[in-house]
């Protein structure tokens, strides 16, 4: 597997109208890693994800994903990136089969049968309308769509949002299987610290428009907050960083 960083952000600044959301964020996501981005609500995690996916263009700074500028080469890049968004956005009136067929028509490498298989195992038939699926099932669908294209990078924006523990577990199982199978680089934003501890080997914390912490999970935990012996739990670190500064 080639070395290098799958995602590089340097000095990224972004504003929504007057409000400065990102003030010089810098981040590196190495190949093969599972990187979790933590941050309080409204800090700009989704904006950062949109910058990475080429959906918005930062006012300043450099964004590089799989060696390309996502704003310029978004179309090409999306062939190799799987996206699981925060709110499921497949058109509610379409059936599952139609969604899969549609996405298959758009991607060069899209394994429709595998996707249908995977969903079938999760109990989601191809004739059900997207609007009738439960939240967890929709999350499954999004993940199946994202994975069917055999992506080099998997981006998940708060995938566990609103899912009950069972659904969450199922979702992680799927992700883990994918990791075991192909070692896909994963970048996710989340509040589920439990999930972070299990899955991530790198953690970044977004606070005040900047990435204030970015490193291997273990290292961060070992450095800790100095409140006690041994590695600190991630929750403590997170709270410490976002409430009191590092």
């Amino acid at each position: 597997m080639a070395e290098g960083n799958v995602i590089v952000l340097e000095g990224v600044r972004f504003r929504w109208g007057r409000r400065k959301v990102l003030r010089g964020a810098a981040l590196q996501v190495p190949r093969g890693s599972v990187t979790a981005l933590l941050g309080r609500n409204g800090e700009g995690k989704t904006t950062l994800v949109r910058c990475i996916l080429g959906q918005v263009r930062p006012a300043e700074g450099r964004v590089e994903v799989l060696g390309c500028d996502p704003w310029q080469a978004r179309k090409r890049l999306m062939q190799r990136v799987g996206v699981v968004p925060e709110t499921p956005d497949a058109p509610p009136s379409w059936t599952v089969g139609r969604v899969i067929a549609f996405c298959g028509a758009l991607s060069d490498r899209f394994d429709r049968d595998a996707a249908l298989d995977r969903l079938g195992k999760a109990g989601i038939g191809s004739r059900v309308r997207v609007g009738e699926l439960s939240r967890g099932q929709r999350a499954h669908l999004q993940l199946a769509l994202a994975l069917a294209g055999e992506p080099d990078l998997l981006v998940l924006d708060d995938p566990a949002l609103g899912l009950d523990p069972v659904a969450r577990g199922q979702l992680y199982r799927e992700i883990v299987e994918e990791l075991a199978l192909r070692g896909t680089t994963v970048f996710l934003t989340t509040h589920d610290l439990d999930g972070v501890e299990r899955l991530a080997d790198r953690v970044a914390i977004l606070h005040g428009g900047r990435i204030v912490l970015d490193g291997a999970l273990e290292e961060i935990r070992t450095r800790g907050t100095g409140t006690g012996p041994g590695p600190a739990p991630l929750e403590a670190i997170f709270t410490g960083v976002t409430m009191g500064g590092v």
């Binding site: 599972v34 990791l179 075991a180 610290l193 439990d194 299990r198 273990e218 590695p231 991630l234 929750e235």
Partner: protein, 127 residues
């Protein structure tokens, strides 16, 4: 093989996995030559990053506790009786060190500490 992991505890997950397997081998619950779950299976079962499991297995392979046979799987190594004994001893020493640290933190003397062990030996009854 049953492994419980504590994700938010102080001990890294890979370390916990490694320790559990070492303990299982040392106690004879995993006899030499028996098969252990693949990295993938264990990762899925525990819902942890396969890289984490992979790291634990790497350490175990380095320490000759596990052997990988291509195409067949991962097995507990054929260890000599001395090696097993040595493992066992190493485990005991590690666990007792933890006990001693805890006892000392409570201000106990050696006699009190030993006495507590004896009492516990009577009480704890599983095989």
């Amino acid at each position: 093989m049953k492994i419980d992991i504590n994700v938010s505890g102080p001990v890294p997950i890979w370390r916990q996995i490694e320790d559990r397997i070492r303990r299982a081998v040392a106690s004879g619950a995993l006899p030499p030559g028996s098969v252990v779950p693949s990295v993938r299976e264990l990762a899925v079962r525990l819902q942890v990053n396969p890289a984490t499991v992979s790291k634990a297995y790497r350490h175990l392979v380095d320490a000759d506790v596990l052997t990988v046979r291509r195409g067949e799987g991962t097995f507990v190594g054929a260890l000599s009786a001395e090696a097993v004994a040595g493992l066992r001893e190493a485990e005991l020493r590690m666990v007792s060190r933890e006990y001693v640290r805890a006892a000392r933190a409570l201000g106990a003397t050696l006699g009190e500490a030993t006495g507590a062990i004896e009492t516990a030996w009577e009480e704890v009854n599983d095989g």
